[in-house]
Each structure stands twice: as C-alpha cells, then as structure tokens.
C-alpha cells in the first residue's frame, strides 16, 4: 500500500544531506571542520541520555515482566478495539506529553518487543517522532520567564497532542496496513 511513500521517506534524507553539503560548499563554509565541531555535541548528548534511559527502561521492563502491563492492557482491550487503537501503544500515548525520555524508553521497548517493522513498532516510532513533550515545553519555557498564569496553554497543547496521536494511528494504518 502506497509504496511511493516509503520511497519518498528513503530518498528524503540523502537528498537533504546533499543539499546541506553543496550549499555549505557554495558558501565557502569549512564543511569538514564545522561537521566535526557540531558532531562533538552529539557525544555529550548521547552520554547525558544514559541515566534517563536506564532509569526508564528498567522501570518499564519490571512493569512489563511482572505481567502488570499485560493485565492493564487486557482490561482496556474491549474499549480500545472499538476505537481500532492498538492497546499496546496506550502507555506511550499517555506518557508522550509528560516526559520525553520516558516516552523514548517506551518507544524503544515497544520496538524491541514487537520488532521495528511491525505495525506497533512503526506506530510507536511515528507517535514518538510526531508529537513533543508538552509538559516539558510548558515547564521550561514558562518557568524560565516567570509566567505564573498559564490560561489555555496546557489545554491547547494537550489537545494538539491528542490530534497528533490519532493522526499517527490513521496515517500508519493507511501507509503500512494492519500487519
């Protein structure tokens, strides 16, 4: 189904890389040195992720291994199957707006359990990529400038997240089918 979409996805990244490199060369940017300079940030970033991910992944896998997660998922199954929403992804949908690193942990957990090319694996990846951590953005941005009354901000942010999650389910179902 919609094979060309997959093709676009695959072509997009190499073409973007090509554009960035050619434009940089055109503008006489010392490309290689600049690349190395920017790349250094990636090292510190991935190291700083380690404690977050260890903490979250261990908690999730304890929760899963004990059978508690399956129990909850099974209890919600009748309701969710009415909505055509795969219940395995429910924890991710709930945590995604609350904590980015926690969501990342759940996403990688789902991908490792169900496989990266399964429907659930792809859906988790799409949800993770298409929405952001509303609570984090709200806390950091408003906290830093001392906004005390948030008005409609949280409501708007969470509703946008909900739309994103529903859109992810619909789009992934359309593109990859229910396998």
């Amino acid at each position: 189904m919609l094979h060309w979409m997959t093709t676009i996805s695959i072509w997009m990244i190499p073409i973007l890389i090509l554009c960035i490199l050619l434009y940089g060369t055109l503008k006489r940017v010392p490309t290689y040195e600049t690349f190395v300079e920017g790349g250094k940030e990636g090292i510190s970033m991935s190291f700083s992720l380690i404690p977050f991910l260890v903490g979250m992944l261990v908690a999730i896998s304890v929760f899963r291994a004990s059978g508690a997660l399956d129990f909850i998922v099974q209890s919600l199954n009748p309701l969710l199957s009415l909505l055509h929403f795969p219940s395995e992804v429910l924890p991710l949908a709930i945590i995604r707006p609350i904590s980015g690193t926690a969501a990342l942990g759940i996403t990688s957990d789902l991908i490792s359990v169900y496989g990266p090319d399964s429907f659930i694996g792809r859906l988790a990846a799409t949800i993770q990529g298409s929405t952001d951590t509303t609570f984090y953005v709200l806390t950091v941005y408003f906290g830093a400038v001392g906004i005390k009354k948030m008005g409609d901000a949280l409501k708007v942010g969470l509703l946008a997240d909900l739309i994103g999650i529903i859109a992810a389910v619909v789009v992934v179902t359309l593109v990859f089918g229910m396998n």
Binding site: V36, V58, S130, V140, F142, I163
Partner: protein, 197 residues
C-alpha cells in the same frame, strides 16, 4: 509527575510480581534492560554525531536563515500581535527551524529567548499572552522533518528500512500542527467573546 509515574511502575511491577509469581522474570528484566539502555545510547551516538555535525554546516552556511525567510509571511498570519521585525519573530522562527531539523537541545534556549521577547511584548506581565499560547501549540506538535532518534532506535533493532517512517511522521506532525493552530484560534475567540482579551 514523572517521579510518581516512575516509582509507580516499579511498585506495581514488583507487587504484581509477588502476587503473580513472576519474581524471577522481574529479576532478569532488571539487569537485561539496564544493559540494553546503555547499548541503545551508544547506538544513538553515531546518528546524533552525524546529524548534529551536518546541522552545524546548515547553520554556518546560512541555510537555516534562508529557510526562515521563506516562512515569514506565514508567521505574520500566525502571530498577528508580533511586529514583523521584532526580535521575538526571529527567535520563534529559529526555534521552529531547530525543532524541524531535530536539534532538540538548540531549540530549548531559542524557545526561552522567544518567550522572553513575547513577555516584553505583553508588558512584562506574569500572565500568558495570546502569542505565547500559539507558540506553545506549535511547539508541542513540533513539526519534525527528520526524527533522528527514532531512526537510530529502529536501526539498532535491525529494521529493514529504518527511515520508512519519515513520511508518515511528517504527515502526522503536520496534521497535529494544523489541529493545534485551529484549537488555539478557537480558544482565543472564545476568550475574546467572554471579554478576557
């Protein structure tokens, strides 16, 4: 909030393990998953280094600024209360660009700068302004172009085509951004009707 969720998962998991007789699985899960988390981070490193390096080139060459100019007319419509040449506009655009290209850590300081400027525009009040809500709505639906981290995870677990979720992600994120903007406008007009703006 996150603290409670995190502790809750451990407590429920361990108690459930006691009742359910799955304690040996719980024990095994503890150590296997901790190791897996570290392996995952090391797997992430390769793609993060590569991508952030490339983005640095895009930044230095002025490609990001060029893209910003492209969106100026749209931004004027989105933020009617922000004057076109106000520094707030520049910061908002840079923040969106950083988000679009998956520069999460670059996006945060830019977002805070944007908020500072929006607060100035609002007369320095500690209440939220219309532009701030709009900015947040866009930010939370984060129009991502390349979900770097997700691709790295899929590579890590040997996906046949780790990047095949890029297009679906862009579609989903665009829908949530449009939805976010629509909801934001709806709430604004509702406030206006009730005389709060």
């Amino acid at each position: 909030m996150v603290n409670y969720i995190w502790v809750g998962m451990f407590v429920i998991g361990i108690v459930f393990g006691m009742i359910n007789g799955t304690m040996d699985q719980v024990n095994e899960a503890l150590f296997v998953s901790a190791k897996e988390a570290v392996t995952l981070c090391l797997g992430l490193m390769s793609i993060l280094v590569f991508w952030l390096g490339l983005m640095k080139i895009a930044e230095e060459s002025g490609l990001l600024d060029k893209l910003s100019n492209l969106f100026k007319p749209f931004m004027r419509w989105l933020f009617p209360e922000v004057p076109a040449n106000h520094p707030a506009m520049g910061y908002i655009l840079s923040n969106m660009m950083a988000n679009t290209f998956g520069l999460g850590n670059a996006a945060t300081p830019l977002g805070i700068k944007a908020m500072e400027q929006l607060k100035k525009l609002n007369g320095g009040k500690t209440t939220v302004s219309r532009s701030m809500v709009t900015f947040l709505a866009i930010n939370t639906s984060s129009v991502t172009l390349i979900p770097t981290t997700v691709i790295a995870i899929r590579m890590n677990y040997d996906s046949h085509s780790p990047t095949d979720i890029v297009f679906p992600t862009i579609i989903a994120t665009a829908i949530s951004a449009v939805g976010g903007i629509a909801i934001d406008r709806y709430f604004y007009y509702r406030r206006k009707r009730s005389g709060r703006e």
